[in-house]
Amino acid sequence: MSSEVAAYGRILHARFLSGDATAFEEVYISYCDKVFAGIEYKVRTKPNLWLDVEIAKEAVNSAFMSYFQNPGSYDPEKSALLSYLKMAAYGDYVNEWIKERRKQSKVVEIRDTEGNTTIERIEDDETVDDVADLNAGNLRGEAFMRALSENQDELMIVNQMIEGMKDTQRCIAELGWPDGKQSVQRLYKERDKLKKRFKRNLPKLLGDDQP
């Protein structure tokens, strides 16, 4: 960053601190697109991160809002104002982006026994352990399992869950999936999906819905 830009930032910051009524507007107009571009650039250099324009817009404004509310948190001795805002916005962007990804990964497709599918959210307090708590002996009849799923992998995962098998790597090896993060993520998602399907269809699966 050029020393001119840094000097301009220092002047703007000093003006804002002194209560100059137009200083913040000048900071925003001079820097907002640069801060946005900073997020775009950083995101491009990260393989597991991509640009979500809405999140980026919000992150940029959050950084400026924090600065407006507490300009003292910026130390001109440590960095240029633009670098400070870019860093704050990028931090906000990554946090929000991860939060959003998590929210989306918690959405699973649920298929009922009649083959209808719905999209449901897995709540934070729902754990797959609940499934293992059920009485395995009563629940693993062939007809029951068939009603739950006809997919071999899914059935194997249900068996693992009922047996309370928690060693993720062992489960993945049993399923014959390749080692790695992707398989772990896939297993977690499958477990969540099955658990949701299991809970949703439990009365029907057990025949409790019959009058």
Binding site: A21, T22, F24, E25, I29, F36, K57, E58
Partner: protein, 148 residues
């Protein structure tokens, strides 16, 4: 002619920033929001009152509220910076400040009235008063006994 995407993003961000700043009483965005609320009008009407375009109104919203000790200078500086008329800007700010002090005074006033009302309605009879009356009766009875 349509705006290039970057300009659209910038304008959208500016509008969102202005609305974010409405939460901060240190900003002109807050003052504009209070004025709109008091007058029951929207951005277009405020812009008309200030003789500015809606985009200029967003820039105004990003300015800080004029300082009490440098009020006239700050109004002048905002007006110069955004090339807007001083008079309507001054009127808007004064209007909101008047509303603010009226609200503050009426809140303080009503709480004082309530406190005063409570003092009258709930003033307890002091234990001392009760005892004195009882003591007086007892004293009177004793006198009567002595007299008998």
């Amino acid at each position: 002619m349509s705006m290039p995407p970057d300009e659209e993003i910038k304008r959208d961000m500016l509008a969102r920033m202005a609305s974010k700043l409405e939460a901060s009483p240190k900003s002109m965005a807050w003052m504009i929001a209070k004025y709109k609320e008091a007058e029951g009008i929207d951005n277009t009407a405020v812009a008309r009152f200030l003789h500015v375009g809606e985009e200029q109104l967003l820039h105004l919203a990003l300015c800080s509220r004029p300082r009490v000790e440098l009020f006239n200078e700050d109004i002048e500086s905002i007006a110069d910076h955004l090339s807007i008329e001083q008079r309507p800007l001054l009127e808007l700010v004064r209007h909101v400040e008047a509303l603010e002090s009226f609200q503050y005074a009426s809140q303080a006033g009503s709480s004082q009235w309530l406190a005063a009302a409570r003092d009258i309605a709930e003033e307890p009879t002091s234990a001392y008063d009760v005892d004195v009356e009882g003591a007086e009766d007892e004293k009177h009875d004793n006198i009567l006994d002595d007299e008998q």
